[in-house]
Amino acid sequence: MVSGDSFVQLLTPEGERVEHPDYALELADDEVRGLYRDMVIIRRLDTEATSLQRQGQLALWAPLRGQEAAQIGAGRALEPDDFAFPGYREHGIAWCRGVPPVGCLKMFRQVTHGGWDPYEFNLAEPSIVIGNNALNAVGYAMGVQHDGGESAVMALIGDGAMSQGDINESFVWAGVFQVPLVFLLQNNHWAISEPTERQSRIPLYKRAEGFGFPGVRVDGNDVFAMLAVTRSALARAREGSGPTLVEAYTYRMGAHTTSDDPTRYRIDAEVEEWKLKDPIERVRAFVVRTGVADTAWTESIDVEAEALAREVREEALAMTGPSPLQMFEHVYAESHPLVDEERADVLALLGAEDAGRMR
């Protein structure tokens, strides 16, 4: 960990429940089981998507392996009315928002740039341009504030994103307007091939203070801590006390995306070390030891995950691309002569092709 800096932890890698003065957390057994189930399922789905890509069924995939606790803890802290602005790796957040699993695969199969109805799940589409989503989140939060709404907004950002102008401008605005916004930073130690040290010499959560709002570092592989800290940050936001930067200290176990080759820039030892901090294993140890669940139950979850994975695979393979003409839909909300003209050209061209003009 950077310069012996500490973080909020409620569950040790060994599965020991520990207390933290500022973050009490009472969880019913079924809540604990729910979190475990969430993590097992999204990991399995993540694995399935990765293999689908390997088999050429997806253009790309951004694996979340290793970040399950960060995303499930943060995702489960969100209320239905809250609105989140994810990046491209937030499959766990999408799962918590109720997006059908295959939703995340649509963009990576490139049948669409979106994947779900943002208003149905109160979740924007993934933002690929690093930083943009944080400013959009600020604006949305200003809207909530203006409505006198009670909900909160979450912007999901990464360690690399912390260097982008837009992110820092969003800190300025969030601080000045005290908007109901939580910046959920997943510090997974890498921005593609660049280590976090390339983005900052000091812990990232400390960036917030200089903008006038609190930052807190959490064991991002501890789903309990993530849930507790994110909940309190969201509560703070809802009660009008302004933004918080929550740094989930975690690790990207897999490649940046399926087109990446981590062996070029990082050593196995580092990965091995983080394996010992696995977010799922510690909960498994906890539930079994405390009797919250038995191995029969954990196995049943594996079975459920397996089935879901198969389902998602089938749905994915069934996803067909849009028709060429669809690219002209929704370019504008109102009619546009040039778009209409070009749509007609394509129609004619396709007609011509059907008429066997293909060469």
């Binding site: 979106g114 604006g139 949305y140 809207g143 401008e169 370019v331 002569p337």
Partner: protein, 324 residues
Amino acid sequence: MSELTLAKAINEGLRKAMEDNPKVLLMGEDIGKLGGVFRVTDGLQKDFGEARVIDSPLGESAIVGASVGLAMRGYRTVSEIQFDGFVYPAFDQLVSQVAKQHSRSGGRFTMALVVRIPFGGGIGAVEHHSESPEAYFAHTPGLRVVSPSTPNDGYWMIRQAIESDDPVIFLEPKCRYWEKGEVDEKRAPSSLFDAVVRREGTDATLVAYGPSVKTCLKAAEAAAAEGKSLEVIDLRSISPLDADTVAASVEKTGRLIITHEAPTFGGIGAEVAARLTERCFYSLAAPPLRVGGYHTPYPPSRVEEDYLPNIDRLLDALDRTFEF
């Protein structure tokens, strides 16, 4: 009917839009207490409050990026970029989010927002205060780009832009801010995206928008004195482009000159020329000619008169088109 300056007309249009729709918010640097450096938002914060007329922190990317989020939440922001030369920090949000959110979301997110930009030169300003970035926006699918040339258009077009469910880059010819004209608050002159014939003529067609329209009308006057009848078209909308209106004129006159302050190379004039040549090839007695800014950074304003398209350069182009 009232006689207003362009600045005041836009101010009145903004006021009307805010009265009609509580979801309309204004945001930008110095637009509240100060009323904007050109006073276009003068008095609006006093009357609508700081929650609806927001003096924002600095940062154009944030101004536009926040407008995107507000649009997602159902608000209609009219954000002001203080000067043309300061819109570039917002270019990423404009191109990557404003222009694409609607299609990315399959039509669920509506980017009903307006970005006001005082643009163009001729006011003897310092660097970065006289630029004409319209071509960048026109080349960006998903955006609409308009520019009023008269107070009446200023009043109506800003209202129509705010009512539009698509994002509109609203370019205000700052050198015309203080020119007065009749504003008819009762009847909209035409749709936001129609070009209009400002002066009828038979010998050649002059196409312009924003600040250059008046220059064309003056040139037409001068040409008339020489017995040449020029038709002057005010595009009003740069994207979409009302090619029909221009084509109708070119088929009549057979000669076309397009002018704008932005550099000629890769400017809107090229699009108009290429499109109209394709449409009116057999009607053209001469190639469309372009009179625009030169391929140089906007020069020190001491020499801007020599950089900007002026009557002489338009008449010179006219001579050349007739020599063909």
